[in-house]
């Protein structure tokens, strides 16, 4: 850690590559299925062989439009593919087919919730369609590199934000929101570990209050939210230290290794940046008819912002709870299913954000692979609501369900005999035993004035609950104790 005497402000913008979940490539009928043997899904078009002609995938156009509609953006009804020329072995054509002057998606915006619970708008500059490159494998093939072109030609949208974020947490909040938008739209599987979403972060710093932007660097290909947050914080610190030590930031591309937490310079941008773009002569302008737009607009699912509003207005959740629960598609779906099955949205919110989140975290699992289904959790909540079990016993039942000891809450409650005791006579009998075993405390209680008794009764409640192995109804225990103690 270092300490800075000056107040600095970071300015962050993102470029995000989102792999579209089409069945085939953007310009060819080769499959995009993940995990195939090397080069078995790379056809002559993907390889850029002479005499081939690309034809644009209809579904890739639809998905890009859906993204545009999802961020309230203008859709450019005439959009044009261009060639970005550069030389690299994983790009056999010698150019990437992309969009520059006329991208399919124009300016839009995404709203995020900040730590202080205020809303912050991140503007999207534009989003364009392009093809992915292949993969270079730098393993040792007797001094050669191996190239797998299965990924070449996979459709991507590249989303470019305005520099509207001021710290790593905002950038991560934005990235999570974007993840939720593309998965809700069903245009991307969102699997970051497989590279389905890749983030490039542009970072610069400037003295607080200064209008002019500092020189920025670009850190490429961050594929987890955790790495992204760390890489940004590290880069902000590096730039501030550098400037305070009298140095200057140079515009460059950097690589961050999440496993070692080390970032290094990859190449400085000045020399390489001549891509000689020109409109691709093999492809005509793509024209989007109004009828297509209207059809897609009608098919739009409920977006995360709308879902959040519904959680607040219809289900009565707090702003914060609604934001967290709508923040990821799988979580939102799980929560809603559990709330429906259990008949109580607030209780479901507490469980999903509390016990369930904690247990998932401890086991390093995603909610999509949670061993307790939303319906089963709903069933458990229903038993809390109808007083079959207390909230405390419910955690025990949940643990058993997690371990697979029973198909549903009722089975576990039955098998373990956890049903709450609500029989007055039975509870009274336990209380009598407790009082008989603790005559001193009873004496003290009866000698105390009213103000102190409230606290003192807790001891007896605790003893009674313990004696009932947690199964006595706590409300009834309280009531009966007060009556008996006088």
């Amino acid at each position: 850690m270092f300490t800075s005497t000056m107040q600095w402000e970071a300015v962050i913008g993102l470029e995000i590559h989102v792999q579209l979940s089409t069945k085939t490539k953007i310009f060819s009928g080769a499959s995009t299925a993940f995990g195939a043997e090397a080069n078995t899904q790379a056809c002559a078009i993907d390889l850029g062989l002479p005499g081939t002609l690309p034809v644009v995938n209809d579904e890739a156009i639809n998905m890009a439009i859906k993204f545009g509609l999802g961020i309230d953006a203008e859709i450019n009804k005439v959009n044009v593919f261009e060639r970005k020329n550069y030389f690299y072995p994983d790009l056999p054509k010698g150019y990437q087919t992309t969009q520059l002057e006329k991208p399919i998606v124009g300016a839009g915006h995404v709203d995020i919730m900040l730590d202080d619970k205020s809303t912050h708008r991140v503007r999207i500059h534009h989003a364009h369609l392009e093809e992915d490159a292949g993969k270079s494998l730098h393993e040792d093939f007797a001094g050669m590199s191996g190239i797998d072109l299965n990924r070449a030609g996979t459709p991507l949208i590249e989303i470019v934000t305005e520099p509207d974020m001021r710290n790593a947490r905002q950038a991560v909040a934005f990235a999570r929101k974007l993840h939720s938008i593309v998965t809700t739209l069903g245009i991307c599987d969102g699997d970051m570990s497989q590279g389905s979403m890749r983030f490039d972060v542009n970072v610069s710093v400037r003295p607080q209050g200064q209008e002019e932007l500092g020189t920025r660097t670009e850190t490429k290909n961050l594929n987890s939210f955790k790495f992204m947050e760390r890489a940004i914080n590290k880069e902000i610190e590096r730039q501030i230290e550098l400037i305070e030590d009298g140095g200057t930031v140079i515009q460059e591309t950097r690589l961050y290794n999440g496993d070692t937490d080390v970032a290094r310079s990859m190449r400085s941008k000045e020399e390489a940046n001549d891509y000689r773009y020109f409109p691709c002569p093999d492809l005509l302008p793509v024209v989007i008819e109004d009828s297509r737009l209207e059809k897609l607009r009608a098919e739009m699912p409920e977006m995360p912002e709308a879902r959040k509003a519904r959680f607040i207005n219809e289900l009565g959740l707090s702003d914060y709870d609604a934001d967290v629960l709508s923040g990821e598609l799988a979580t939102a779906d799980y929560f809603e299913a559990a709330a429906k099955a259990g008949g109580d949205a607030k209780l479901a919110a507490n469980w999903v954000m509390g016990e369930l989140a904690k247990t998932l975290n401890q086991n390093d699992l995603d909610i999509s692979s949670c061993p307790v289904s939303a319906e089963v959790l709903g069933g458990l909540m229903a038993r809390i609501k109808d007083n079959t079990i207390s909230g405390k016993i419910a955690k025990q039942v949940f643990e058993a369900l997690w371990k697979g000891e029973g198909a549903n809450a009722d089975e576990v409650i039955q098998a373990k005999g956890l049903k709450q005791v609500t029989d007055t006579g039975a509870i009274e009998a336990i209380i009598d035993d407790v009082l008989a075993a603790n005559p001193k405390q009873v004496e003290q209680y009866q000698a105390a004035d009213e103000a102190k008794r409230g606290k003192m009764v807790g001891f007896f409640v605790g003893q009674t609950m313990k004696a009932s192995k947690g199964k006595a109804n706590p409300g009834m225990v309280n009531q009966l104790l007060k009556k008996k103690l006088g």
Binding site: T24, N39, Q41, N57, V80, L283
Partner: protein, 95 residues
Amino acid sequence: MAIDRSTVESVAHLARLSISEDEVRQTTEQITSIMGLIDEMQAVDTHGVEPLAHPLDAVQRLRADEVTETNQRENLQANAPAAEEGLFLVPRVIE
């Protein structure tokens, strides 16, 4: 606009083309003369004219998102100078 030899050399480098001293001289002359033609076109008043993305007055046709290609790895790699374990081999890329 005149094109100098260093521009030709740098464009050749970007395209990974190796050109001889003679070719550099020749290409510089040729491109300079092409630039002369472009200068003439630049002089035309194009105010209010939409930039043209394609000379054909037509619209891109789209294809349905269905797999139509089959695995042709063996055929395609028969043309490659080197392949191993299903991968195309290229001179090592160091980054």
